[in-house]
Structures are given as structure tokens and as C-alpha cells.
């Protein structure tokens, strides 16, 4: 990534929108504003100005403009923001005119944050947590990212690191100062303490084994006879026309998935091909795919209706749909003609989902890089616990420190930078 020059990008959501913020960062930020006819901005004060094209002097927009003088800014550089009207045409024209100015170019993905880290405005761990926070699409992801950005993991890591250093120091002192009267020779509990630390890290790691669940989402599969009303139930639950609904049996041959935000979690509802014996051709392929989905689902709902035959697929939940046509009393019953019954089912699902997602939200270790470093650290700690000779225990502990250092970014710093900034997409 090229790192010099003044960068410009749309920093708010994709227009059309109420307002669109074009942000400029770098040494030429103030000069760029002047080229657009915007001068005399008081630091950190919003001023309404006319934006004039630096190319032909045409009036582009009337925008609220703010100047944040560096280095006390998020990137550590001079920043100018144009809060334009959120029209795609305005934004495109402002950006297009801006990059014609000498020394100005479009920002690369993640470049604002990269500059913030390089200019010492943000630490590596903060940047990683911020990446998560920005990428968070649901309330659950946001809550977890916020907790991590507030140091939930880094504080644990700092404590482990200190203990690891303590263990190594205990071993090294016995090795280097064996001839000193003051250093006791015995160190019988070293193996136990290595083991205890390994177990503690392993617990956090295994508690985090479901971490990806939060981003993958909770998968609900609806099964049932063709025409049992699965599609219409999904439509009612999601209030969207995402699945195809026709009266002809076997229309929904493939899996149709609808993803929604339910109680702050990503939930995918999958409408499946009906399960019917004796199906052939395309329908048989659809049924095979349905069975595959069922096997991988977090929750399987069997949809039964009075006008279709029941199937014997094992399900977590049985819903008696088309309740307006009749059905057993006391059962979980829904009908698209009765919105209250749909709300009841939605509440029930919300409860199941949030219960299932809780461990994933509590996960401290969310990245493959962290998992591999901590996993290797545990392995080295176990080596240390198992070695018979003190200098070999010390060696294993040194390697454990080396792995732990990958967590704190001391070693393999290039990999960390790539991970952070490759995943970053802000300022656009």
C-alpha cells in the first residue's frame, strides 16, 4: 500500500441518503478545501459553505464544512470534511474533482485506520477491535466487538503474558544463578503452574470455539410436506416476499434462504423442498439437498398442516400451520390470517436464538490469528509441563513467550498488519 499523499473518500453510507460526508486527510487537506472555494474554517467548528468546482467554477453544493487540524485528529493528519447533500451525483462530482488536484488521491480500503496506527493515534489491538466494530452487522456482533475493543481480551492476554514471563523468570533464575546462595534450587511446582496456565488459556479458547457462529448466524430449517405452508410461514415471519409461493405441490424445489436480524442476531431461515417419497429428477435432488441442510441446521422446524400428510423428519419444533383450517388443541399453532400467532412463534424463535448465540457473543478469541497463536502457546506450555530437565522447560517457555508475542504483535508484525488492514474497509 502506498502511504503518502492526501487521501479523499466518501466516509458515510452509500447515497442516496440525507447527507454524505466526504473526508479528506493529509497535508493538502486545507489546500484542497481552498480549491473548492472553502476557506477560513475555524478549527472544529461547522460552517455552511458553497462548494465550487476547482475545474470550472461551477457551484456543486452547499455543504457543512469542518476542519480538524492535525495531529490531534483520528488519523494524526489535517482532516477536512464536507457534509454534502446525499446525492450520488454530488458525491461523484466532488470526489472526481478532488482527485484532479495534485497530491490528492482516493483512499485505499482501510487507509484512514492504517494512517491512524502509523501516526500513533491507535494501537494494533484497538485497530483490530475497531475493524470488528465497523464490520458488525447485528447488535450481538456490535456488543461483542465493543467489549473486545474495551480490552476484554487484551487484559486477559496481558495477564497471561505476565504469568508466562514469571514462569520463565523462575526457570532462568535457577539456571543462571545456581551458584548463588539466595536462589532456592527447588522448583517443584513449575510443571503444575505451566499446566494451570495452559488449561486456563485452553478454557478461554474452547469457550470461544463458537466465535464464528455470531457472524455465520443461526440457521433454522423448515421441513414438511409440500404445500404444508412453509414458504408462507417464512414470508409471514420475515415479512418479505423472498420465497416463491404457488399452490402447485413441489414448487419449492431448492433451498431458499432468507436472512434477518432477530433480536440482534443474524438468523437464516431456510425454506426447503418438501420431503416426499418417490420423488424423481429435479425434485429428488432438491430433497437430497434438504436432508443435507437438516443435518447442519441449528434448529429444525417441522411444519404440519391439516390439509397435508405429516412427514417423519425428526424436528426440534413442530408448528401446526394453517390453524384456521383446524388442528390439535394446545399445540404450537400458526396461521397467516392470525398475526398474533406469528408474533408468538417469532418470540419463541428469538428466545431460542439468543440462548444459542450467547456463548458466541461471550467469545474473547474471535480471529484465526489469535486462535493459532494461543493454540501454539498452549502446546508449548504443555511441553514445558512435560519436560524433565529445567533447561528444556525453560526452552519450551521461551517458545511459549514467542507464541504469546504474536498475540501482542511483537513478532510477525507484518502478518498482523496484513490481517488488520486487509480486512478493513472504512472511509468509503
Amino acid at each position: 500500500m502506498q502511504l503518502d499523499g492526501t487521501i479523499v473518500a466518501l466516509s458515510s453510507g452509500r447515497p442516496p441518503s440525507a447527507i454524505a460526508i466526504v473526508r479528506v486527510s493529509g497535508a493538502e487537506a486545507v489546500a484542497l478545501a481552498a480549491s473548492f472555494g472553502v476557506t477560513g474554517l475555524a478549527p472544529r467548528r461547522a460552517s455552511l459553505r458553497r462548494l465550487v468546482s476547482p475545474l470550472d467554477g461551477a457551484l456543486l453544493d452547499r455543504a457543512v464544512c469542518v476542519h480538524f487540524p492535525g495531529p490531534e485528529t483520528s488519523t494524526g493528519e489535517d482532516i477536512v470534511e464536507f457534509h454534502c447533500h446525499g446525492s450520488p451525483a454530488i458525491v461523484e462530482r466532488v470526489l472526481a474533482d478532488a482527485v484532479t488536484l495534485s497530491g490528492v488521491r482516493m483512499a485505499e480500503p482501510g487507509e484512514y485506520t492504517l494512517r491512524a496506527v502509523l501516526n500513533g493515534r491507535m494501537g494494533m489491538a484497538d485497530a483490530e477491535a475497531l475493524a470488528d466494530l465497523i464490520e458488525a452487522r447485528t447488535e450481538g456482533e456490535r456488543r461483542r466487538a465493543l467489549r473486545l475493543s474495551e480490552g476484554a481480551l487484551s487484559m486477559r492476554v496481558a495477564e497471561w503474558r505476565a504469568r508466562l514471563i514469571g514462569l520463565l523468570a523462575d526457570a532462568e533464575s535457577r539456571l543462571d544463578f545456581a551458584d548463588e546462595g539466595d536462589v532456592p534450587d527447588d522448583l517443584t511446582d513449575l510443571a503444575c503452574r505451566c499446566d494451570a496456565l495452559a488449561r486456563e488459556i485452553a478454557t478461554v479458547l474452547s469457550d470461544s470455539s463458537d466465535a464464528d457462529k455470531l457472524t455465520d448466524g443461526f440457521h433454522i430449517v423448515l421441513t414438511g410436506s409440500p404445500n404444508a405452508g412453509k414458504s408462507s410461514l417464512i414470508n409471514a415471519l420475515t415479512a418479505r416476499e423472498a420465497a416463491i409461493v404457488t399452490p402447485e405441490a413441489g414448487t419449492t424445489r431448492d433451498v431458499v434462504a432468507v436472512t434477518i436480524d432477530l433480536g440482534g442476531y443474524k438468523v437464516t431461515l431456510e425454506d426447503t423442498a418438501g420431503l416426499r417419497d418417490g420423488a424423481t429428477g429435479v425434485e429428488a435432488i432438491g430433497i437430497a439437498r434438504t436432508r443435507e441442510r437438516i443435518a447442519r441446521a441449528d434448529l429444525v422446524i417441522a411444519v404440519i398442516s391439516p390439509d397435508t400428510a405429516a412427514t417423519d423428519v425428526p424436528a426440534d419444533l413442530v408448528v401446526h400451520h394453517k390453524a384456521d383450517l383446524g388442528g390439535p388443541a394446545g399445540a404450537l399453532a400458526t396461521s397467516i390470517t392470525d398475526p398474533a400467532s406469528i408474533d408468538l412463534l417469532r418470540d419463541l424463535l428469538r428466545e431460542r436464538v439468543s440462548e444459542a448465540m450467547r456463548p458466541a457473543e461471550a467469545a474473547l478469541v474471535t480471529r484465526a490469528r489469535q486462535r493459532s497463536a494461543l493454540g501454539a502457546c498452549i502446546a508449548r506450555l504443555s511441553d514445558a509441563a512435560g519436560e524433565g530437565q529445567l533447561e528444556l522447560q525453560a526452552e519450551a517457555l521461551r517458545l511459549a513467550c514467542y507464541e504469546m508475542a504474536r498475540m501482542t504483535g511483537e513478532i510477525g508484525i507484518e502478518d498482523v498488519l496484513d490481517d488488520v488492514f486487509g480486512r478493513f474497509c472504512i472511509g468509503k
Partner: protein
């Protein structure tokens, strides 16, 4: 005016100076060793002992390069102990009690017998510099010695000031003059000088100690020598004795603390944390009720005892009260009081890894002037400085030693990268490749390298060649072994019955294996020299880890290779703390690897520097 031309002039004839002069002469340089007093060559200023953990490793490395400190020590050794015997081979360090007089005599004979080496008695008062390059030295009596390279090994003599209670005077050692003019001259050259401090305990009269009251500490029955060339002790062996300070001793010290030069505020120099004075121990470890003190004989013919563990700068009357409070010392007489000494050292970051001063070509430094403490550390630097001085004189490229291959490399790299805020002593924990850098394999690591640079004499060459041939043959023999789990079980070695045959190294490193078992299958290896067998056993024991270390070292080397532009320190690096910026300016690391090893370097700081280095390259 009297005027002599040399290739190399070495100033100072302590452990750094003797080793430097000997190495320069071995490497073919016409060398002069300048000392204030011919009889003081090879004098041990402090404890009568050589080697130990880390220090023994250094001696073996100097020895592997055909240096002299190990052989001379063995000519004067009166007690041998292999420290860390209960630990593994990587951390075992040979140590010996030394007869001071025998050591000095053997060293003086060695120096006198070395071809191309002349001793010059006199005080070096000045360096001669021409066009920014050192051209020789001027003595206090007006003589000048010209040379292509000068090595300063000034020890505690450069600007030396002794502190004893309330008294303070200029001296290089008790009863010897300091090098004061040279100190002024170096400061005038604008070199980054600082003050360091060390101390020594009182010397006791052996005849005044009640030996029967004290437990004896004998040497090893099966001595391990400091030089691999040594086969038997040269002198009669003597035990040490153990006494210790107690509550009464500590009370005496506490009451008189303000009379100590150290605590009276007279000393500004920084002393080593790991070699504290007894005052320091009592203050910093106030909860301890006693500290061990070893009573070490100073020699077979000497009546002096060195009480190891009570270095002090308290006044003499307090020293007597303190000593007499210890067991067996109730009637002890002090022959020479303990004292603290402050001396000049240079910030070693001003040195290239060749030990040549960057700012003053032709001037090399070794030993305490570089901020180290210890005879062994001094000798190891002396050897490298001597070799490079000779190479400079001979028009050859300077050489450096890698920290992956030797403790000498670790030490020099630490010094030139971080300098030394307190006197630097070698520890095995300083070496990343500790399991590979062993006393038993120093020859394997270094002798061939020494040969290519002309350091190795005929006797060492033959000894090394024989030892390597024997080891290589044994390695092939061990690799060729193919023992079934059944056969191993027959010798009491429990191995998974997986049908896989084991080679000799696997049997050697097996907890139930070792030479006892291997000898059953290869009786011919039983007659190998002990050092070869020890070395093979260590190789087998550490194989898993040394393989992994090589991987880690390769990874680090790749990351560390990123070049840092010379002017990066001047460029603004926003976010870099002022402290790190100062270090960057002072040290000017050429690569990310060098920057990584700057003390106090933080991961964030390194990331910033790496990113800016890359930005500059792009």
C-alpha cells in the same frame, strides 16, 4: 624522539589486553602490549576464580579460537567445579579457583613466548590522530608508538577513583596509579563517556581464620577443565570453605550505612545489580537473616583469603567488625580492605560490531571500557578486537561474530545495540540459541572459523581435527544403528512396539537410554574421548529443540532483513515516543533486526519504524 612502528598497539595488560595482544599476534600482526607495570600483567583484580555459568561458556569459546585465558587458568587452577552439574549440558559451566601468583606468572611467560608480541612499560597519555584516524599512542615520557590499530583495554584504570569509607583517591587498583591523562583525552575527543562502579571485598589472613569451625566445599572429583586442551590439573587442589553473614553482621552494616562511600553519596557511577555490595544486599533484601560467603584461597603459597560475597566500601573499622561477626572469623585479620572503584566507560553503542569505534577508525575497545564486568567477558572482547585490529593492519576486511553461533556474538551484539546501563555480565539466558551454544561444542562452532582467520595454532588444529573426526565417525555409527523395540526392551528401554527401528541418537536421548545402553550395541564407541561422548549426548538430548530453534531463527532473520534508511531517524515519525526517537538517533539501526534489539523498543514502535522504512523504500 624515540619512535617505534607496530601493526597493533594494545593498551592495558589485564584479561582483555592479554587476549587482544595474543590474538593480534596469532593473526600475524606485529604487536606491542603497553602496561604501566610489567609485573602486573595477568593480575586478577578481584576474585581468584575463572569461569562459571555463562562465563565458562565464554572461556571455552575463546579457547576454541586458540585464545589463552583457558589454558593459563588451567596452569593455575587449584579447584575445579562444574556448575549446574545436576542440570543439562547446555547450562553447565566449568569454573576454577585460581592461584593468583601462578596465573600472573603463567600469563607473563605466555606473553613473553608469543612471536611478534613485545611488552612496553609506560603510561599511555594520548592517542595520536591523523585525518580522523588513530595512528598510535603517545606515552607520558614522550615516546610515541605508531600503529595501524590501537586497542584500549583500560579496565578500572581509566579515570579510576577508589572509595573507601569517607576516603577517596585516584587509583586504578589498590596501590596502583590510574590512567588520568588518557581519560581527559578521550573526553576531549567528544566520545560518549560514562562512569561505572564496581567493588571488591577485604582480603583476610588465612592464618587468622578458625578453619575447623567451617564446612568445607571440595572441588569435583572428576574435574572439567577450562581448556579442552588440558588433561590434568597442573597444581595441587584445595577446598574452599563456607561461612556467612548473620543478624549481627547486618546490624553492624546498618548502623554504619552512612559511612559507606556508596550510601554516603560519594559515588555517581552505576554498579551491577547482580554483583551487589554487602551494603546493597542488606538494604535491598532487608528480610534476609544471612548471606552465604565463600572463603576462597588466593593461592597455594598465598596467606590471603578472598571472602566472596562481602564486597564493600565501608570504612576499615566497620569492615573488621563486620568480618569478625561471621562464623570462623572471630579473630580474622584484614590484610587489604575492601573498596569500591569508579571508572570511565564508553557508551558501547558508539562501537561497530567489530569493536572498532565508529567515530574514530583504527581505535578498538575491549573489556570494562565497553561497560562489561568480568575477566571472561573482557577476554572474549579482547580476542575479537585483537583479531580485527590485526586484520585492519593487514588490510583485510573486519569480521563479526553472529549471536546465533556464539556467546561472544551475543555479548557484542547486546553491547553495540543496547549499550550497558549497568556493568554487563554474561548469562546463558541472554542467548536465544542456548541449547546449541554449549561449552562442550565450542570447538565445533568456532575452531574452523578461527582457522580461516589465522587464529589457530598447530597443536589446537591437530586436537580439533582428531576430535571432529572421532565425532563424525561416531555420528555415522549412531545413525547407522537400527534397534528394534524388542532389542531395546532387552536393555531395559521401553519403546512403543510400533515396529519402527530406532537409531543411536534416539537411544541416547531416551530417558531410560543413554550411553549405558548404546555401548551395549556399539562397544567400540566406549573408547571415545569423554568430551566427544558428552557432546553427542547433548546433541541427542536437544535435537527436537535445536531443530525448532533453527526454524525460528530463519523466520526472524527474514523479518529482520528489512533495511532502515540511514536518514530515517531525522524524519518525523509521528507517534514514536521521544525516548525511542532518541534511541533511534543514537543507535541508527541499519535493519529492523537491529531496531528490534534496542532496549525498550516496543512492538508499536517497531511497527511504526517498519512501516516508515517501507514507505521510504517504496
Amino acid at each position: 624522539m624515540f619512535h617505534v612502528k607496530h601493526d597493533v598497539v594494545v593498551v592495558g595488560a589485564g584479561h582483555a589486553g592479554c587476549e587482544a595482544a595474543a590474538a593480534a599476534a596469532r593473526a600475524g600482526a606485529k604487536t606491542a602490549l603497553v602496561t604501566l607495570n610489567q609485573d602486573a600483567i595477568g593480575r586478577l583484580s578481584c576474585n581468584p576464580a575463572m569461569g562459571g555459568i555463562g562465563k565458562g561458556h565464554l572461556i571455552r569459546e575463546v579457547d576454541a579460537l586458540d585464545g589463552i585465558i583457558g589454558r593459563i587458568s588451567d596452569l593455575a587452577g587449584i579447584q575445579y567445579r562444574l556448575l549446574n552439574r545436576s542440570r543439562g549440558p547446555a547450562v553447565r559451566g566449568p569454573r576454577a579457583q585460581i592461584d593468583r601468583a601462578a596465573y600472573a606468572a603463567a600469563m607473563q611467560a605466555e606473553i613473553a613466548a608469543t612471536d611478534g608480541l613485545t611488552v612496553v612499560e609506560g603510561e599511555v597519555a594520548d592517542l595520536t590522530v591523523d585525518g580522523g584516524v588513530v595512528t598510535g599512542v603517545r606515552l607520558a615520557d614522550g615516546r610515541t608508538l605508531t600503529a595501524a590499530a590501537v586497542i584500549l583495554t583500560t579496565g578500572t584504570f581509566l579515570g579510576g577513583v577508589i572509595h573507601l569509607g569517607e576516603k577517596t583517591w585516584t587509583a586504578g587498583r589498590m596501590g596502583e596509579a590510574a590512567a588520568t591523562d588518557l581519560s581527559h583525552r578521550l573526553r576531549a575527543l567528544g566520545l560518549p563517556m560514562k562512569r561505572l562502579k564496581t567493588g571488591t571485598p577485604p582480603r583476610l589472613a588465612a592464618s587468622s581464620i578458625d578453619w575447623d569451625a567451617l564446612p568445607e566445599q571440595p572441588g569435583d572429583a572428576d574435574p572439567v577443565f577450562l581448556s579442552t586442551m588440558t588433561t590434568a590439573p597442573a597444581l595441587e587442589q584445595r577446598p574452599c570453605h563456607v561461612t556467612g553473614t548473620n543478624v549481627e553482621t547486618h546490624a553492624v552494616i546498618r548502623v554504619n550505612l552512612t559511612r559507606s562511600a556508596m550510601y554516603g553519596g560519594g559515588i555517581t557511577g552505576v554498579g551491577p545489580r547482580y554483583c551487589p555490595s554487602i551494603e546493597d544486599k542488606v538494604v535491598r533484601f532487608a528480610d534476609r537473616e544471612g548471606h552465604q560467603v565463600f572463603l576462597e584461597p588466593e593461592g597455594l603459597t598465598s596467606d590471603l583469603i578472598y571472602p566472596n560475597g562481602i564486597s564493600t566500601s565501608l570504612p576499615e573499622d566497620v569492615q573488621i567488625a563486620m568480618v569478625r561477626s561471621m562464623a570462623g572469623c572471630g579473630r580474622a585479620e584484614i590484610v587489604q580492605p575492601g573498596y569500591a572503584i569508579e571508572y570511565d566507560a564508553i557508551d558501547a553503542r558508539a562501537l561497530a560490531p567489530t569493536l572498532e569505534l565508529r567515530a574514530l577508525p583504527g581505535l578498538f575497545l575491549a573489556g570494562q571500557i565497553n561497560g562489561t564486568t568480568g575477566y571472561e567477558e573482557a577476554a572474549a572482547q579482547g580476542l575479537l578486537a585483537g583479531l580485527n585490529a590485526a586484520r585492519l593492519a593487514g588490510g583485510a576486511q573486519a569480521v563479526t561474530m553472529s549471536r546465533d553461533v556464539s556467546y561472544i556474538g551475543v555479548m557484542v551484539d547486546d553491547l553495540v545495540t543496547n549499550g550497558a546501563d549497568e556493568p554487563y555480565r554474561m548469562f546463558t539466558s541472554r542467548a536465544e540459541n542456548r541449547l546449541s551454544l554449549r561449552a562442550d561444542n565450542a570447538g565445533e562452532r568456532l575452531t574452523a572459523w578461527g582457522e580461516t582467520h589465522g587464529l589457530i595454532g598447530a597443536a589446537r588444529k591437530a586436537h580439533h581435527a582428531a576430535s571432529m573426526a572421532a565425532k563424525q565417525a561416531a555420528v555415522e555409527r549412531l545413525r547407522g544403528l537400527a534397534i528394534t523395540p524388542n532389542e531395546a526392551a532387552g536393555e531395559g528401554v521401553g519403546i512403543n512396539r510400533d515396529g519402527r527401528r530406532r537409531d543411536g541418537f534416539e537411544l541416547l536421548s531416551h530417558p531410560e537410554g543413554g550411553w549405558r545402553v548404546v555401548d551395549r550395541f556399539c562397544p567400540d564407541l566406549e573408547t571415545l574421548p569423554r568430551e566427544v561422548r558428552d557432546s553427542l549426548e547433548a546433541d541427542a538430548l536437544y535435537r527436537t529443540y535445536t531443530d525448532r530453534q533453527m526454524t525460528v531463527a530463519a523466520e526472524t532473520r527474514a523479518a529482520d532483513a528489512l533495511a532502515i534508511p540511514q536518514d530515517l531517524a531525522e524524519q518525523p515519525i509521528p507517534g514514536l515516543s521521544n525516548e525511542l526517537r532518541q534511541k533511534l538517533i543514537a543507535r541508527r539501526p541499519a535493519t529492523i533486526g537491529e531496531a528490534r534489539r534496542i532496549s525498550g523498543m516496543t512492538p508499536a514502535g517497531l511497527a511504526l519504524i517498519a512501516a516508515h522504512a517501507r514507505r521510504a523504500v517504496a
